[in-house]
């Protein structure tokens, strides 16, 4: 019983699932909408959601879903018609930000209200996982047609554990328990309030003062003293976040693999973990984060050896290297890493010029290739590694995630892994990809870090899975 108040960094932007790409929205969608297929708590397996079960055809191109007996918050039945409508919207609607990812759906049929048949244009291993994406949340067709998109995006008809009782823009979203939710018995809270508190300090102070029950995005620096507070519980839940150093392969000496390897060796990742994450993170060694599907435990970890790095640079004819490093302004962690890396690379004889830029601007510059180094991170929102792999190694768009990395062999392997339906084979393919990426130093993996949340000690079952979903249906406020 009780209402859980959670402080977060920003207010949400919309409740139209297809119209946003922001985690801040997705994490609330997961409370408000249900999806056909869910990701489990471990973040590595799929489990039934509104689809009770599904069958895949032989050729892997036709999926038949059996819908569960469930109701929207307005009491109406959730039918296959609604599911079809939701998926069609994400594929076709002009406001959809995700349509590219769902073009694989060729058509859908609803032979009866409980059955949804989805025909793909070809086999696709990641398809099922993409149905678990919050963007593919199931919305009420009748409701949306009646209310109009804008009104629905403001006060949606919920298919998930909670319904939106009120939304005070810029301040808070007030959720109430959805009595019509098919798993309503599981939900213990009366409601949830997502409160936006942009300043990291005051957000934490507010929890410390007992004014809210939980706060997310706890800065690394505060973990230690929050842990010491007996009234609070710090939750460090495994995430799929990986911070990495982007390298622009198209820029001068950086096109040489040896130079990139030297840079990798010049970087003391443990020092970053210590200084920036206060020891909370973990040194990263693969682009597929630890705890994720197909993560390769034994991937190569180059030792920190500035001397060796120097030699390698000299060998490659790149001594006296000067690099431009783009820093995201306003991001403390980013700036800290930049300052550290500047010093570390300096020890290997590389001069680093820091260029602080507004984040929206850094993207433009990254895309335009006007940089040498820059730190970025990636948190997965689909369990399947295909999405990230395609973006990062698959030459799909944005020049391999702005790096201009170019290895045709890798590219082919990525495409093959996407359509490989055999689990075991697929795993080896991904392990190979991780090895190849490491060898080529497509980028430099820096560290993995957990989700960092804090709650009052009377809150139980507060948990965030690696994809970021909060399991508020299991949360208890004592």
């Amino acid at each position: 019983a009780g209402v859980l108040t959670i402080g977060r960094r920003e207010d949400g932007t919309t409740f139209d699932p297809i119209a946003t790409a922001q985690n801040i929205d997705f994490w609330v969608f997961a409370n408000v909408y249900d999806v056909l297929v869910r990701v489990d708590k471990s973040g590595t397996k799929l489990e039934p959601g509104l689809a009770e079960s599904w069958d895949v055809s032989e050729d892997g191109a036709t999926y038949t879903f059996k819908m569960r007996d469930a109701k929207f918050s307005d009491g109406s039945q959730i039918t296959s018609e609604d599911a079809k409508f939701s998926l069609e919207r994400i594929r076709d609607d002009e406001g959809s930000l995700w349509s590219d990812s769902y073009q694989i759906i060729e058509n859908m049929e609803t032979p009866d209200p409980q059955t949804l048949v989805v025909k793909l244009s070809g086999p696709s291993a990641p398809f099922l996982a993409s149905l678990a994406m919050p963007g593919a949340s199931i919305i009420s067709k009748a409701g949306m047609e009646e209310m109009g998109v804008e009104a629905y995006a403001e006060r949606p008809i919920a298919s998930g554990a909670f319904l939106v009782a009120d939304w005070l823009r810029g301040d808070r979203v007030i959720l109430e328990k959805n009595p019509s939710f098919w798993e309503a018995d599981r939900v213990r809270l009366d409601g949830v309030e997502w409160i936006s508190i942009p300043d990291d300090n005051t957000r934490i102070l507010k929890v410390q003062a007992g004014e809210i029950d939980a706060a997310i995005f706890v800065p690394f620096a505060r973990i230690e003293d929050l842990k010491a507070d007996p009234n609070l519980k710090v939750h460090l839940d495994q995430s799929t976040r990986e911070d990495h150093l982007l390298i622009n392969h198209a820029s001068g000496e950086l096109s040489k693999k040896e130079v990139r390897q030297a840079i990798d060796m010049a970087i003391d990742k443990q020092a970053i973990v210590d200084a920036v994450t206060f020891g909370i993170g973990e040194v990263a060694y693969s682009y597929i984060p630890k705890g994720s599907l197909y993560h390769y435990e034994d991937n190569l970890q180059r030792p920190h050896d500035p001397q060796k790095a120097k030699e390698m640079l000299a060998e490659a004819g790149a001594d006296g290297l000067t690099l431009d490093y783009l820093v995201n302004a306003g991001d403390q962690v980013d700036e800290q890493i930049a300052v550290l890396l500047q010093q570390q690379l300096g020890e290997a004889g590389i001069t680093v010029n820091l260029q602080k830029m507004d984040p929206s601007q850094t993207w433009d510059m990254l895309v335009a290739g006007e940089y040498d180094l820059s730190v970025m991170y990636w948190t997965k929102d689909v369990i399947d590694p295909d999405q990230k792999t395609t973006f990062v190694l698959g030459h799909d768009s944005n020049n391999n995630y702005m790096t201009n990395y170019n290895n045709p062999e890798v590219k082919d392997l990525v495409a093959a892994a996407r359509v490989e339906m055999d689990e075991a084979k697929r795993e080896t393919m991904y392990v190979d990809l991780q090895k190849m990426a490491k060898e080529d130093v497509n980028w430099i993996d820096l560290y993995y870090s957990p989700y960092r949340n804090v709650t009052q000690s009377n809150i139980e079952g507060f948990y965030q899975n690696p994809l970021g979903r909060f399991f508020l249906e299991d949360t208890i406020k004592n």
Partner: protein
């Protein structure tokens, strides 16, 4: 009354200012590098998705045409649709305007409440320890960065003493008062420092003015002279100073709203700037500019009311 006639025609004089403001906001925000479509979609996106978003919000049109639509919308009383929130900007502003208004008005009131007695004491006891103390405090008060002061006040009043909530806005009237006290105090203190110094100086000047001397020569006791002849006369420059500071106050709201998580327009604007939500930035800047102009207008009316000599 003829002295108030400017109330009728001043609004017309604003037209060129508003046109200037609309052009500047428009051009300025669009010359910020960065692409709203990319911000909206995040890094994991494709060119086709980007193109679609640009088209949807008319970002691919030539600049002059975009401006034309913006002005056309203005005449229809609309400010366009937010790229990030996908709702009408006017609607967004409507939900956000109250907290900012409360913050600004509250700060001004608190500042006046602090500054007036301080200035009066300092000026009447010129050279006393109280005067020196007030001068030192107000001089130092000018130098505190707002966000730092905010955190200090939170640590003292919220964390240590527990008198006020750390952040937030609240829903009922009293809740709002309770929540907004600290933020208003933060900006109010800085403003009070400015006002105290200014008011003290003008009271001092007015205390030695001819008309105050004449009032004493008429045998009026010092208290009467002070409150009836000195203070009203010294308020005029202060009112104008306040009006000039309104831009500064609104700027302050941008920072203070972030620290105190007040769901006002300042936060909306900041997020708008960082996410390149052109429509929001345009809209909020227009509203802020109009507010500044309005405040100056009110200050003019107040000045005319206080001082019968002033003609506008």
């Amino acid at each position: 009354m003829s002295r108030y006639r400017f109330v009728l025609y001043r609004p017309f004089q604003l037209i060129p200012v508003l046109i200037g403001i609309s052009i500047i906001t428009f051009v300025l925000i669009r010359s910020i590098p960065g692409d709203p479509a990319r911000v909206l979609l995040g890094p994991r996106t494709t060119e086709s998705a980007l193109a679609r978003v640009r088209e949807q919000f008319g970002l691919d049109e030539p600049l002059w045409l975009q401006y034309f639509y913006f002005v056309k919308n203005l005449f229809k009383g609309e400010l366009g649709k937010s790229i990030l929130y996908k709702v009408d900007v006017l609607k967004l502003i409507a939900t956000r305007i109250e907290p900012t208004l409360v913050l600004v008005i509250g700060s001004v009131l608190l500042a006046l409440l602090i500054a007036t007695p301080m200035a009066a004491i300092a000026a009447r006891r010129r050279g006393s320890w109280a005067d020196h103390l007030i001068r030192i405090i107000s001089t130092a008060g000018l130098g505190f960065p707002a966000f730092w002061l905010a955190i200090m006040l939170i640590l003292l009043f919220s964390v240590q003493l527990g008198w006020f909530p750390v952040t937030g806005y609240g829903r009922t009237f009293w809740e709002k008062v309770h929540h907004m006290t600290l933020p208003c105090l933060t900006t109010g203190l800085a403003l009070a420092a400015v006002l105290t110094r200014n008011l003290r100086a003008s009271i001092l000047a007015e205390l030695q003015s001819d008309q105050a001397t004449a009032a004493r020569a008429r045998g009026l006791p010092e208290n009467v002279v002070f409150w009836r002849h000195v203070v009203p006369n010294s308020l005029v420059p202060t009112v104008n100073l306040l009006a000039v500071n309104i831009g500064w106050l609104i700027s302050g709201s941008v920072v203070i709203e972030t620290v105190f998580a007040i769901p006002g327009m300042g936060q909306l604007l900041i997020r708008g700037i960082f996410t390149r939500d052109y429509m929001v930035v345009q809209g909020v800047a227009m509203v802020f500019a109009c507010a500044t102009v309005l405040v100056n207008f009110l200050a003019d009316i107040l000045t005319v009311t206080i001082d019968p000599r002033v003609k506008l």
